[in-house]
Amino acid sequence: MTDMITDRWILDRPNSYIGRSVPRPNAPRLAQGRGTFVDDVELKRMVHVAFVRSPYAHARMKSISTDAAKAAPGVVAVVTGKELAEIHDPWVGALTHLEGIKSAPQYALPIDTARWQGEAVVAVVADSRARAEDAVELVDIDWEVLPAVTDAETALDAATPVIHDELGDNLTWRRNANVGDVDAAYADADHVVEETFVFGRHTGVCLEARALVADFEPSEEQLTVWHNNQCPHMIQNILATHYHLDEHRVRVITRDVGGSFGIKVHTYADEIATVGLSIMLKRPVKFVADRMESFVTDIHARDHRVKGKIAVKNDGTIVAFEIDDLTGIGPYSMYPRTSGIEANQVVNMIGGPYRFDNYRAVATVVFQNKNMMCQYRAVGHPIMCAVTEGLVDAAAKAVGMDPVELRQKNFHPDDSYPTKSAQGLPFENLSHEESMKTLLEAMDYEALKADRDAKRKDGIYRGIGFASFIEVTNPSAAFYGVGGARISAQDGATMRLDAKGNVFVSTGATEQGQGMEAVISQVAATAVGVPPERLKIITGDTEHTPYGGGTWGSRAAGIGGEAVAQAGRALREQILVAAGAMLQEDAAKLDIRNGVVVDAATGNERIGLDEVGRICYYRPDTLPDGFQSELVATRHYVPRKYPFAFTNGAQASYLEVDVETGFIKLLRHWCVEDCGTVINPLLVDEQIRGGVVQGLGGAMWEECLYDADGQMLNANLADYLVPMAAELPDIDCGHAVSPTADSDLGAKGAG
């Protein structure tokens, strides 16, 4: 790969902030309770919406009586799906690169049929949320309850009702993959081990629920939306498209966001309805989901049943993997990313850390009358990882080999890159061997095994578990764009020197707590040569930031950060040209260090950036004839050599099982990961820890439980068990560093 980048100028800058645990510029505000979350936004004449939500998983509304609700105190409007449909177009969650995927048109509120319990069906707008909720109780719907399709296993049976008649069946999508000759591999193998893995439904449980304030200003046909979405430009496009608005008159603002985890990248019908209500009423409308609403409307994820097979030789060589994955995604494919991506990821990444030549997979995605499923943190990864590693452990047991040894025997060797997975996905540079070695040292595997075996003699059951993994980060347009989704794969950054020598940085990446603003400030400070306190970071506003994809898919540092690196370098060069004009010096002999223009060779101070700004803006008359300074630079970036920057790592868990009760106590957890260039070690470690705990939650406690009629049984925070502090162990983090050569910065995603 000789055309790849090898110039790591950004890492070699004097006074570099890359690799340092600098604090987050936005953290003190949040620690003082001075953040601005959506529900903190109050506008004049603002009204509040509450929704009548379907009590049934599948039911037709024979009639809707809204008279009593309309007459209730404080009520401004009661709006049905038919009324709202007059001003917006429905959407369909299908993308062309998932060949054959289909879904039905979805409206902001359904026209006549509710298809999951919790689906918003009628909107009630009042002068307070409480009064809107009072009036919700007064909306009278004559329901005809229809049979609910809840079991994914029987969703395609001839006897099962079809959820959308026009689609003909309940199949959303099916994907097959076939590599090599699996049957021949089975015949040749010494052991073929088969297991079935069942994953429950999980959901993100962002502590700040989904929320927006939509404010339509009719005189200019200007729509402003304060939203806690991760992708402001994507939402801008969606709102403009479906409400027939000029895109440049739709402004989406995302201020502080209370967690996202992929929950807040989607098009939620109740949010689209809220925007429509503002357009209808010509005044601001606020919607904040309450926790019960969140559980039945925030996307769910996982819920896969995977039958997996692995074929191994007696020496531990893996020769084949096979999976049959089935997942139910609710009544519609989510828009605009579709609900096929999780299954797609599973098919793409089974066996990811290992070399093998034979692979067969089928993934079947079906509709059902439950809340919609879509992409949530680590899309598909927990499934592919648990299935792969569960099968690898089973194979190790079958051949009588230590599970670590079998992994090490089958890893893509660290010196084998670039290479491809069995499925054909390109791997640029991974470090499974180094990561596992570092992990084993950190956990002291031999000592743990001795402890486990000693305790067993005392009747104490302890166990050690391993998982090696790969992760998709820095997604290019291959993820969504090629399929027709208007989700920016590239990101832009605009940087501007002000008259006092400070630098404004506008980025298309967004912040929901990951520490993106700190990472952006480190890269910007390093690229220009100023201390971070002289930067102002601007994010989350479609009117004031360059076009970008926002923050999801572990893209903000690797893609947004690289755009900032390039913009920062361009701004530095422009500043030096101006300083050169002032100093009558060759700009190439100058540099910027710590906010001062210096001689590059000696480091001697020549002129401060404040002075450069003052002269350029206030006394351009003193500059040479014909010289015009340019103190704004914009650059954009998208990965071009690789569709994704795969990262990798290895984890281990030490735990104790009470064999009488089945209770599990987590004793310690280790994670070694490789995200390429580490921009901020503290933030990377905390992304890892947070991600590990979210994964433990899904593995140990969390599950959206449904009954056979499609009623969610534990749609509250008391019954849906999230990880709390007391049951969690400390987590040790370690790193390997394999930078991507697809950018100067070399950062892959983390967390």
Partner: protein
């Protein structure tokens, strides 16, 4: 039946008098009536701890108490304890240790750990974990929070 009640209480050292709907809970009163939006609403059923505020010296769930119950009470929120500097050491440690990510749980978490440091200044890591186990944080995995409390205490700032 009159659904409104007149209440007077001290909030962050200032006396406030309002007529509120009887059903208004304390955190909604603080947020929407007084504009003290640092206290957050996460579940409205007493599990997540985002709405934690201090009433008459003890932390309570602002969603499980109606504002009328706080009539005559001494109420402190994140804004107030920030202004007095009482929890500055903890706040600084939270920032330095990155014990907050999205920051939505943080005001409630800080008031909770401040009470622990008051009640049991020598709390062990396990006891810190136990004490904050009524405050849900989806982002951090809690370890950084435990570390930050220990850090602030070691500096004599907790």
């Amino acid at each position: 039946m009159d659904k409104n009640v007149d209440i007077t209480m001290t909030v962050n050292g200032e006396t406030v008098t309002r007529r509120v709907e009887a059903r208004t809970n304390l955190v909604d009163f603080l947020r929407y009536e007084l504009g003290l939006t640092g206290s957050h609403v996460g579940c409205e059923h007493g599990v997540c701890g985002a709405c934690t505020v201090r009433v008459d010296g003890s932390i309570v769930r602002g969603c499980l108490m109606v504002a009328a119950q706080a009539d005559g009470a001494d109420v402190w929120t994140i804004e107030g304890v920030t202004e007095t500097g009482e929890i500055k050491g903890l706040q600084d440690a939270f920032v330095e240790r990155n014990a907050l990510q999205c920051g939505f749980c943080t005001p409630g978490m800080l008031l909770t750990v401040a009470e622990l440091m008051e009640r049991k200044p020598d709390a062990s890591r396990e006891e810190i974990r136990e004490f904050i186990s009524g405050n849900f944080c989806r982002c951090t995995g809690y370890q950084a929070i435990v570390d930050a409390v220990e850090m602030a205490r070691a500096k004599g700032d907790a």
